[in-house]
């Protein structure tokens, strides 16, 4: 371990500095506040006395992104604005690590979505924002936090944008800790220390002087920083302290409880559905079936059922679906190929069998209907209008029949008709019921500290969802039996 030499003793104990002395001096301009910020982080880490190999300093791009080089901890220097994403991946992979993110105000702009998401999750990162109101490394361009009127190399006559208020923006997410200070404030070290110690998401907005660009061009000084806070109505101090559970551990508590390890537990995965042949199809060549209906009519499920039945009758099958981006409107179609031989090309030029269930389905195949040869059999809901085709028409009261069970069973009724008349494979297949998927043990104990909102919403939802997931294969079987039987 290459932890740095002892510099001073902290208030709690004599903990060696996390700054690697041999890497000094820092590469920052004389008078730049970044040097102080590095020392503040060091103080915060020393107060916790963590082993350096359990600490990760993740830096963003910009001058302050050079900081990680000087820490004798793990260090991750990533792309501009994305430091929070790497830090979150690290925390999710190993929730007991202390993960510190060091970024500038530039990172808060380009990576704003990550900042919001991390605060909403309350993932256990400490975000240190060295906020000097401009992009120093690239020559002093304006950033998301540049005050109105400020002169920078990209706001030559004064900034017209309002600055991002990190406290006001993140507070509604109720993360672990939010505070604003400046590199000159007497309580800065204490606040950084508290941010570092925070279990959930913490962010400290440290106002800083960019001596190379912003401070000179805008006559910002140690003394005027406080006035700027007042003018912008962005006061210093602690803006929020919260007790929501830390996300990386909360995720594990919710998704990786003991019972999940138990094979009979949550049934998050449907049991493997092997489709061993239980019958023998007489089909000798490739047969293609086009099912055309409306979105929401369970077209894909019916097609899967048709293919599964074929496989259980010793055939091979492919299923190629076609649907627009809309969900419960428009057409839904599926092309199924059944064959005793391996299927290469999955396209269906001219189908042998067509099942048309609705007006949407009809509209989808309409252009091709005149091209279908007399050998093609079209099974159509009898309520649909005249069809312009030379193909053999079989009109059936599919919808009326379906309504005896449920209108959405129309595809299954059509499938039953096809199986009964076409002899693709035996319409009645029986097989052992699926392996038992026991209902999970509920109610689960509520993890300590969960907010009322969570208990109110997700507790109920998660229980319901899991129950449905567990039951899905069983329901599918039930449908199959009813349809085919």
């Amino acid at each position: 371990m290459s932890q740095g030499t002892v510099e001073t003793c902290g208030p709690e104990a004599c903990v060696p500095s996390y700054i690697a002395e041999e890497t000094l001096p820092y590469p920052f301009c004389p008078g730049c506040g970044h040097t102080k910020i590095a020392s503040m982080i060091d103080e915060g880490l020393r107060a916790l006395a963590l082993p350096p190999e359990r600490v990760v300093v993740v830096t963003d791009i910009g001058c302050v992104g050079l900081t990680d080089r000087h820490f004798s901890t793990n260090a991750f220097h990533g792309l501009h604005g994305r430091s929070i994403t790497y830090a979150s991946g690290i925390k999710l992979a190993d929730p007991d690590l202390k993960v510190i993110v060091v970024m500038g105000d530039g990172g808060t702009g380009i990576g704003g979505a990550h900042l919001l998401a991390a605060a909403r999750r309350n993932i256990g990162l400490t975000v240190i924002v060295a906020n000097n109101f401009n992009y120093g490394m690239t020559g002093g361009q304006h950033s998301a936090t540049t005050p109105p009127g400020a002169i920078t190399s990209t706001t030559l006559l004064g900034n017209l944008e309002m600055p991002l208020d990190l406290m006001g923006t993140l507070k509604p997410a109720r993360p672990g800790f939010l505070a604003r200070t400046s590199v000159f404030a007497g309580d800065a070290v204490e606040l950084v220390t508290r941010a570092v110690a925070s279990d959930g998401f913490s962010l400290i907005d440290i106002w800083d002087l960019c001596v190379a660009y912003f401070a000179g061009q805008n006559t910002l000084t140690r003394d005027s920083i406080e006035q700027m806070m007042a003018d912008l109505e962005m006061p210093a101090g602690i803006h929020h302290e919260g007790t929501r559970p830390e996300y990386a551990r909360a995720w594990r508590d919710l998704y990786l409880p003991e019972e999940v390890a138990d094979e009979e537990g949550m049934c998050l995965l449907p049991p493997d559905k092997g489709l061993e042949p239980v019958a023998q199809s007489q089909l000798t060549g490739r047969t293609s079936i086009l099912i055309a209906g409306s979105a929401g009519q369970k077209i894909r499920s019916v097609a899967t059922l048709l293919g599964a039945g074929a496989i259980m009758s010793g055939l091979l099958a492919t299923q190629k679906d076609d649907y627009p981006i809309t969900v419960r409107t428009g057409h839904s179609a599926a092309e199924i190929i059944l064959s005793p031989e391996p299927i290469t090309y999955t396209g269906v030029g001219t189908p042998d069998i067509v099942l048309i269930l609705s007006e949407d389905g009809l509209a989808h195949v309409k252009k091709k209907l005149p091209e279908y040869p007399p050998a093609t059999r079209i099974y159509a809901e009898e309520g649909l209008g005249e069809l312009d085709t030379r193909a053999q028409m079989i009109r059936l009261p599919l919808l009326a029949k379906a309504k005896e069970v449920h209108r959405l069973a129309v595809g299954a009724v059509g499938l039953g008709a096809i199986l009964a008349r076409e002899g693709l494979y035996p319409p009645r297949l029986s097989w052992p019921p699926p392996a038992a998927c026991r209902r999970p043990r509920w109610p689960r104990p509520t993890p300590p500290g969960w907010s009322r909102a969570w208990s109110w919403g997700s507790g109920v939802a998660a229980r319901d969802v899991r129950w449905r997931l567990g039951r899905a294969p069983v329901l599918a079987r039930a449908t199959t039996v009813r349809v085919v039987g």
Binding site: L256, D322, T344
Partner: protein, 374 residues
């Protein structure tokens, strides 16, 4: 055991069985079922699966987790690949093992979200700044969604590199009878990530020969680990010396290229006396196989090379398949991309591109007609 699975389902199964324990993704048709599949599958094996706030976050989460010891995967479609671009460069630079599945959809930008194409193929190879090589594999069916995902994890972990599985809607969302046990038997064994000696000092990018690959040490483990997006030396510290930078570039390229031939996966179906060679990949290979059957049934001759490894280009396999033919036909579901890779190796042979990107599959008949095969 025969199952009726979609390609995306097979990717999920393969990932879990390859040891993948971290997944992050963002919903996007036609890749969403990999995200939802991993969310169901990973908790069963103690893994973590989360939805990122966007694609940039998703791949960033994966890179962080991968460097903290997790075997990681993400999945998206073309628009998401565009957002992954910069972070793919980071994974190359930081030598991060990561499997990326691109379930391609038709068109640039949002395109036809629910339709297939192979329009990203050259983008997958050249889709990040710097131009360093990476592996791109292309499955033609559900079985290969399994076997090539398993292969992708081996490549990622063995060479510490991002590996792209170039799937597409017509493979990922096509359901097919498949025996995964047979696919499993045909897959490479799980490659356990080599870890650095915990007692010895750790160099994150160590190599003697440029083609060497350094063992990893997870963040949070026995060593202090450094990682950087910037040009670095073997210690992951900023490098400015052109000689050092040159060596590192050679390392990042050679560790892939020196091993390219041993990972060149393809099927060659030669025919004695054939004058024409078809070179196909992905779902179009299925139509090409059918086309060859029809050509031969008609008494004509044609050879077929189906590529599973697209990049690095399997030059030796293509060169051998080209021997003795004077024409090459390359069908693909784009406006003609990989045909240029084949053309580079074809000398003065006639090279015919059969290209289509209108959301329909290329049919065997189109390949025969436009390729002049009969």
């Amino acid at each position: 055991m025969i199952e009726f699975l979609e390609g995306n389902d097979a990717v999920v199964r393969a990932a879990v069985e390859a040891g993948c324990r971290f997944f992050a993704g963002y919903p996007i048709t036609p890749a969403t079922s990999i995200l939802t599949g991993m969310m169901r599958a990973l908790p069963k094996v103690g893994g973590v699966a989360v939805q990122g706030e966007d694609e940039i976050a998703s791949i960033g989460l994966c890179i962080g987790a991968a460097m903290t010891g997790k075997v990681a995967m993400t999945a998206t479609s073309g628009p998401g690949m565009s957002l992954y671009s910069e972070n793919i460069g980071l994974a190359v630079m930081g030598e991060t093992p990561l499997v990326i599945v691109d379930v391609q959809r038709q068109g640039p930008a949002t395109g036809s979200a629910t339709k297939g194409a192979d329009g990203d193929i050259e983008f997958l190879r050249w889709g990040t700044s710097g131009g360093l090589p990476l592996f791109v594999l292309s499955p033609e069916n559900v079985r290969e969604c399994y076997t090539l995902t398993r292969e992708a994890f081996v490549l990622a972990e063995r060479y510490r590199t991002p590996v792209v599985l170039a799937s597409q809607k017509e493979v990922g969302l096509t359901r097919e009878a498949v025996d995964l046990q047979a696919a499993r038997d045909d897959s490479p064994s799980v490659f356990a990530r080599p870890l650095a000696d915990p007692e010895a000092p750790y160099l994150p990018h160590a190599f003697h020969d440029p083609a060497d690959v350094a063992p990893m040490s997870p963040i949070g483990g026995p060593h202090l680990v450094r990682y950087t997006t910037s040009m670095h030396d073997k210690r992951a510290l900023l490098a400015k010396d052109p000689a050092l930078i040159g060596e590192m570039m050679e390392h990042l390229a050679r560790k892939i290229l020196a091993h390219a031939e041993e990972h060149a996966l393809y099927d060659l179906d030669p025919q004695e006396g054939a004058d024409t060679l078809l070179v196909a990949y992905g779902v179009t290979a299925r139509a090409a196989r059918e086309a060859v059957v029809q050509v031969r049934a008609a008494g004509k001759k044609a050879a077929l090379l189906v590529l599973k490894t697209l990049f690095p280009v399997p030059e030796k396999a293509i060169g051998e398949a080209l021997a003795g033919v004077s024409r090459v036909v390359v069908p693909e579901m784009n406006l003609g991309q990989y045909v240029e890779e084949v053309r580079k190796l074809s000398g003065d042979r006639e090279v015919v591109s059969v290209a289509k990107m209108n959301t329909d599959l290329l049919s065997p008949e189109e390949i025969i007609a436009q390729g002049g095969l009969l």
